[in-house]
């Protein structure tokens, strides 16, 4: 969802209220427990904003250390080194002001550097670089419980001595470490510093890290037995792939079966609201606006909130248990077929939520060609904005009781749609890779495999909340705005009674009147003007206007159809959609939403790039308009041609 990664570049995140307080920056590599630490320090009362000029999200919060001592804690983006290759890493460099040119943001007074005890060798390189900044540093050692459980070892006093800075052990979920850390933070002006800073040359830094770890008697953790045993199945080429497909299948079945009753509640709420409007609002146009635009349009999108929440809940659970990393690893083999690597899969997988974080995740790809190819494919992954559209169309096509074997047929079709999206994304990436590739070194694939664990509910909750609130924000901003504009276009120009009577409309029949107004609205003429393009696909002006409006955000398609349906039959909008017929042309009278047309629409939505936020991110991440233009063009052609094919095939079969 685009709302999650706001790209309107709204100013800096630090407020004047925090001026003059001691600032601590939490720095660390990804997966070092940085965000968990930040959340437990600030108690989730973080303020989010953007860094000036870039889209990287900025989190900071205040915490009290004692009676009259408050400090500010800022969570910096995860970074493996201070040699910036991504905008996130550039932020870390800018904030820490390693080159002393920082004029944009507050430089922290001290750093809390999180080091994952299970991957110390790798993290020490970052620490060595951070020590060059000259800022006071306190090392926060995380995952020591994991280290011990997996037979690893670290002599912490010796480690402290070798680093020359304070080291505090904080294990997630335990309060003692946090209390120690608060004590240490209260005395940040007397933190010890290394007597001689570590070297700067990369080879020397590696040797330095080895020396530090050797004198700390560090023993790398083994992969624990439980994880190893599970992995021997989950990462198995055949069994693992079967488990992966099964997991994904259950995933979509759950989204459908669990969400359905919840959706009913939301629907009931809106029809209750509609009843209230009909009862109490007697100004004609206002009542129509409220029931059609607000309840019919926005309400029809909000119905999908349960599904969005479930989708993100399941993704958070898969991630929290450690399965997602295995899925990526498993997919490395499949991705290799497309000439890409497992990391590209992570980017594609993030695109299930939204193409924007997916495209941003391509920053982790070291090869520029791989990056471009993945970026071109990512928008084809079934993002959560497509979900409402698919659900609406699939439920128009199949009754709720339809079954394929023992499974819910709607769930099966949804799974197929997601699978098709993923396969197309990979195929496209492979094609782009082939066309842009002129050979080059194959970079080794490296990924961290976290041990399996019970997910931390707090993190899962936070992730779901972020997604749900971003969806609500999107609904109340861009979707609301587009819906209002559409409502106006659908209801103007005003028609006089005389005109309608002349056209043979019974002015006493409200449904007939609104249907006449709709058919002769500005929106209708816009929709009709593009008919030559979409007619072969079986779309009429109502679908066309839905497609045009979905350029703002895909969900608006649902809102538009909701409005049109609510105008024709306010009592039973779903029924109205089902019984809608083609109005003009040679096919007049055919049910508008027959199987071939729905199939064409589904395929069209699968391929078309109807998301201006994605276009914007493509422009920013690729550095020119060339790539977004190519993406928009190829996706439209693909969408149109394949939709026609789908329509022809389904029409032949049914």
């Amino acid at each position: 969802m685009s709302g999650q990664h706001d790209h309107c570049g709204s100013g800096g995140g630090s407020s004047t209220a925090n001026l003059g307080l001691t600032r601590f920056a939490v720095v660390g590599s990804p997966n070092s427990g940085k965000t968990t630490l930040f959340n437990s320090l600030t108690g989730l009362h973080a303020k989010t904003g953007n860094y000036p000029g870039v889209t990287v999200a900025r989190y900071e919060g205040r915490m009290r250390l004692g009676e009259n001592q408050s400090v500010v804690v800022e969570d910096l983006p995860g970074s493996y080194s201070l040699d910036p290759i991504s905008p996130d890493e550039q932020i870390v460099v800018d904030v820490l002001d390693t080159d002393h040119h920082n004029l944009r943001v507050d430089v922290p007074d001290a750093m809390l550097v999180t080091l994952n005890a299970t991957t110390l060798r790798r993290s020490l390189g970052l620490l060595a670089q951070l020590q060059q900044t000259g800022l006071p540093i306190c090392v926060v050692l995380t995952f020591t419980d994991d280290l011990t459980r997996r037979n690893g070892r670290l002599d912490i006093p010796a480690f402290t001595r070798a680093l020359g800075v304070p080291v505090v052990t904080v294990v997630a979920g335990h309060r003692d470490g946090l209390a120690d850390l608060r004590h240490v933070m209260a005395r940040s002006d007397s933190w010890t510093t290394p007597v001689v800073a570590p070297p700067t040359d990369p080879a020397e830094v590696n040797a330095w890290a080895d020396s530090v770890l050797k004198s700390s008697r560090y023993r790398m953790p083994e992969i624990d037995k439980r994880t190893r045993r599970i992995d021997s199945l989950v990462l198995h080429p055949v069994i693992g792939t079967a488990i992966f497909l099964l997991t994904m299948f259950v995933f979509f079945q759950t989204i459908f079966t669990v969400a359905a009753p919840l959706q009913d509640y939301v629907e009931q709420f809106f029809s209750w609201l509609g009843g209230l409007v009909a009862e109490h609002v007697h100004i004609g146009w206002l009542s129509a606006f409220l029931s059609q635009a607000v309840i019919g349009g926005v309400g029809s999108v909000l119905v999908f909130l349960p599904q969005i929440v479930l989708l993100f809940l399941l993704i958070a659970l898969l991630e929290g248990t450690g399965y997602l990393a295995r899925a990526a690893f498993l997919m490395d083999r499949v991705m290799a077929r497309a000439g890409l690597e497992g990391r590209a899969f992570v980017a594609l997988l993030s695109s299930f939520a939204c193409a924007i974080p997916g495209i941003m995740a391509t920053r982790s790809l070291p090869s520029a060609r791989d990056r471009l190819a993945t970026m071109m494919g990512a928008p084809l992954m079934t993002c959560s904005a497509r979900l409402p559209v698919y659900i609406l169309l699939v439920s128009l096509m199949l009754p709720a009781q339809a079954r394929v074997g023992v499974f819910n047929a709607r769930g099966v079709v949804m799974f197929a749609l997601y699978l098709a999206g993923a396969l197309s994304a990979m195929a496209v990436a492979a094609v782009f890779k082939k066309f842009t590739s002129r050979g080059g070194p194959v970079l080794p694939f490296y990924m961290e495999m976290p041990p399996y664990q019970v997910p931390r509910w707090r993190n899962v909750g936070a992730e779901v909340w972020t997604a749900a609130s971003a969806f609500l924000r999107k609904v109340t901003s861009i979707i609301m705005a587009t819906t209002v504009v559409l409502w106006v276009l659908l209801n103007l120009p005003m028609r006089g009674e005389a005109e309608m009577a002349a056209a043979g409309v019974d002015t006493g029949d409200e449904a007939a009147v609104s249907s006449y107004v709709l058919d002769h609205s500005y929106a209708a003429s816009i929709g009709r003007s593009v008919e030559p393009v979409f007619e072969p696909l079986g779309f009429d002006w109502r679908i066309n206007i839905g497609i045009l409006s979905s350029l703002a955000a895909r969900e608006v398609f649902v809102a538009t159809l909701g409005q049109v349906a609510a105008a024709e039959n306010p009592e039973e909008p779903a029924e109205a959609l089902r019984t809608m017929t083609v109005q003009d042309g040679p096919e007049a009278g055919r049910p508008l939403f027959d199987a071939p047309t729905i199939a064409a629409l589904l395929v069209f939505f699968m391929y078309a790039l109807q998301c201006m936020s994605t276009v914007g991110v493509l422009r920013r991440e690729s550095g020119s308009w060339k790539w977004p233009a190519i993406a928009f063009g190829y996706m439209f052609v693909l969408a149109w041609v394949l939709a026609l094919a789908a329509r022809t095939v389904v029409a032949a079969v049914t």
Binding site: P157, A158, R161, A162, G164, T192, P194, V195, V196, A197, P198, P199, A203, E204, N206, A207, W208, A209, D210, S211, V212, K214, S215
Partner: protein
């Protein structure tokens, strides 16, 4: 292969840094001559002394100099010099080395342990031997002798593989390095 070294602070003495280096590369004792830049530093007085233990080199900075200013240069000079162990001249100084290592442990981990039990511990060198004595709460503790031996001797032996116990008598332990 770059030689891995790192610097450790020595409690109570700002002028000396204990550089942890790969063990067994140099003979143990006082370094009189070293190759390259490190040798020059010793000659010109940037460094006023160098003591080699099994897995570390102690370097004393000349009068008026600071590690903040000289650390980086010394670090790379030492790394280079370690690559050429044959050109070092190290005179045996077992008493001195043992004295420093013992003092280091008594201000550090072993001392912390003894102090956490309400005791105190002192060390005194006589020639090539070092006598360690327990005091405070440990004075009348029957477990003191055992504790001291286990902790201190264990740690010391890790730092100085040549350690020998010369004499043990109640709360006092006399140690030396094999020549």
């Amino acid at each position: 292969m770059t030689i891995g070294i790192h610097a450790e602070r020595v409690a109570g003495d700002d002028r000396v840094v204990r550089w942890v280096v790969p063990g067994g590369r140099l003979p143990v004792g006082r370094a009189r001559r070293a190759p390259g830049r490190l040798g020059e530093m010793l000659g010109e007085g940037t460094l006023s002394g160098a003591l080699v233990e099994h897995g570390a080199v102690w370097l004393w900075l000349g009068e008026g100099l600071s590690w903040a200013g000289r650390g980086a240069a010394v670090q790379s000079a030492l790394r280079d010099a370690l690559a050429d162990p044959d050109r070092w001249l190290v005179e045996p100084a077992p008493g001195e080395v043992l004295e420093h290592v013992t003092a280091d442990l008594l201000t550090g981990s072993v001392g912390d342990f003894v102090r956490s039990h309400g005791g105190s511990v002192t060390a005194e060198r006589t020639g090539d031997t070092v006598a360690v004595r327990l005091g405070g709460a440990c004075e009348h503790c029957p477990a003191a002798g055992l504790t001291l031996r286990q902790r201190l001797v264990g740690e010391l032996r890790r730092r100085c593989p040549d350690l020998v116990e010369v004499d043990r008598e109640g709360r006092q332990l006399t140690l030396a390095l094999r020549g």
